[in-house]
Amino acid sequence: GCGSSNGNNGNGSSEGNNTKEASTASTTESTNTGTEPAAEAKDPLDVKIVLNWFAKHEHGGLYAADMKGFYKDANLNVTIEPGGPSVSSIQLVASGKADFGIAHADQILQAKQEGIPLVAIATTFQISPQAIMFHKGQPIKSFEDLNGRSVFIQQGQAYWEYLKHTYNLTEAKELAYTGQHANFIKEEASASQSFVSGEPYALEAQGVEVETMLVADSGYKPYAAVIYTTEKFLKDHPQEAKDFVAATVKGWNYYKDNVDEVHAKLLEVNPNMKKEELEFGEVTQRDFVFGNDAAEHGVGYMTEERWSTLMKQLVEIGLLKEEIDVNTVFTTDYLPQS
């Protein structure tokens, strides 16, 4: 109880101040400089972004921006560092070893609860491609039908807690998800976590037919693969943050039209990846990236309402102990005006 919440309060209030300062600063600057290619003469700023996985299609925009020199044009010297199965990008960004990171919206909120001053500045996916997959033909119509089945799930994921809570999945047997699917395949009745833009492809390629249920259909709709940074970075480098987001968005738009070129680049940094899988993923994820609000407001767009809903859902299932002002957690101030 009280000990840790004290700590949180303390942290929260001070950081709240920071955010305010940061956002005011950035808004003033953004009015000053209209378009991205800022006045140069300065040395380019070194920034590093840590991914949530090895380079793949969900990072296509970043690599496109890098490859096409959009970052360089913005006077940024960007290093894209791939993550790994258990790499915690949040701690790296929080410690200042990296400037930007990729994580899901619920993780950002949880980080906030732990007093980590992160701010989401753009999202990759409007709707998370996170899904539950199961063998084709299994009588699974809804999430409730997961009861009584083995579910391969990465431990500690918020969406799973939400599903458990909402659909009362007390009879589902949670098994560790390790990135392997052999056990899932072996057990006809089981289900497994997946990205609709990823796993199903690999399985079908091996002749295993699966169906998926998008987690978002449960009403749990976090933004996914959110680009975040720290309050401190926003305060110190508001313009650069803005430039970075702008270049990234530009990268995404470039990626949409030049898929093969970007995939060549992705395969260069992630040589073990299969071209076909990237292609499948790119096609599948398009809607998640460019659809919904993004169709109108551009790639990366986020709304307070969605954040708020998510926050309330997390409070409801107990992953957040108390409500958080979502405006301290995300901002769209750094997105290019469209």
Binding site: G3, Q91, A94, E114, Q154, G156, Q157, A182
Partner: protein, 293 residues
């Protein structure tokens, strides 16, 4: 030249002459060293503990490193206290898995080494596969383990065993091969069967190596149990420390993560101390390394 040295004072009578010095002195010296023995046992670890924990608390405080990056001992204790019941359930689960894995390592490690040592053809043929067993990445074979043994405790115990097995095997094998040649000759001479030689000579002679293997293996069994929970665990209420750590990590509760991590360490140290105690009992009758304590 010493041709005229003629000692005389020390004659026959000498041997029975007595002087009257205080014979209590050495006894005092002994009492002193008994006190010292206590000091050696308790004091240095205590001082080190205080310095370590105190230093950690102080440095992290002074540097102002936030708890979510590197928690202070006080943060960790607080986090542990808050989730004490959960933590204890996790610890207990992991203890059971690690101990079972460790016992498997002992039985199969020593048994395997005895098998290998009893025939050099078998050794040459099979030993490489022991190395494979050790080095093949657990993640790669975790699914097969789950398929063969079932997820949860079974698979976790197997994984804990896989990680602790090789040190046991390797050390025991080296021990079995370092029997003194003269003693082997003795057994050969008395037409001892290979079984007798193994049981009465080679195994006792290998004990120091076996014990060294135990000390490594018991800590690795804990590591293995946690890794096992990662790759083959069952989530939910009965998850072990590996599960607790994953949850804490994904929820960014660094202090509790450390609490769980250090619980694993304490578990490891506990197992280690038990092994240490048993080994000193085992070896006390003959081995130098235990004699001096």
């Amino acid at each position: 030249m010493k041709n005229n040295v003629q000692p005389s004072a020390a004659g026959h009578a000498y041997a029975s002459s007595k002087s009257t010095t205080d014979s209590g002195k050495p006894v005092i010296a002994q009492r002193n060293s008994a006190f010292k023995g206590w000091g050696v046992k308790i004091l240095p670890p205590l001082i080190a503990f205080v310095v370590f924990i105190g230093g950690w608390e102080l440095i992290v405080k002074l540097l102002g490193t936030p708890a979510y990056i590197f928690p202070k001992p006080s943060d960790i204790v607080r986090a542990a206290a808050e989730n004490f019941n959960n933590l204890m359930v996790s610890v207990w689960t992991t203890i059971v898995e690690a101990v079972l894995g460790f016992l498997l390592s002992i039985v199969l490690g020593i048994g395997g080494a005895i098998l290998l040592a009893s025939n050099r053809y078998i050794e040459k043929a099979i030993y490489p596969y022991a190395v494979i067993l050790q080095t093949i990445p657990i993640v790669a074979i975790a699914p097969i383990i789950v398929i063969w043994f079932g997820a949860g405790t079974n698979a976790i115990v197997i994984i804990s065993f896989l990680i602790g097995f090789f040190p046991m095997l390797s050390n025991t094998l080296i021990g079995l091969h370092s029997t003194d040649t003269n003693m082997l000759n003795l057994f050969t001479l008395y037409n001892a069967s290979p079984l007798q030689t193994m049981w009465r000579l080679r195994i006792p002679a290998a004990l120091p190596y076996i014990v060294a293997g135990l000390k490594i293996s018991c800590t690795l069994a804990v590591v293995g149990a946690i890794v096992g929970e990662y790759v083959a665990g069952i989530g939910g209420g009965k998850g072990g420390l590996g599960y607790a750590i994953t949850i804490a990590a994904s929820q960014l509760q660094t202090a509790f993560l450390f609490a769980a991590g250090l619980s694993a360490s304490v578990l490891g140290i506990g197992l280690f101390l038990i092994v240490n105690y048993l080994s000193s009992l085992l070896l006390s009758s003959w081995h130098e390394s235990e004699m001096k304590k």
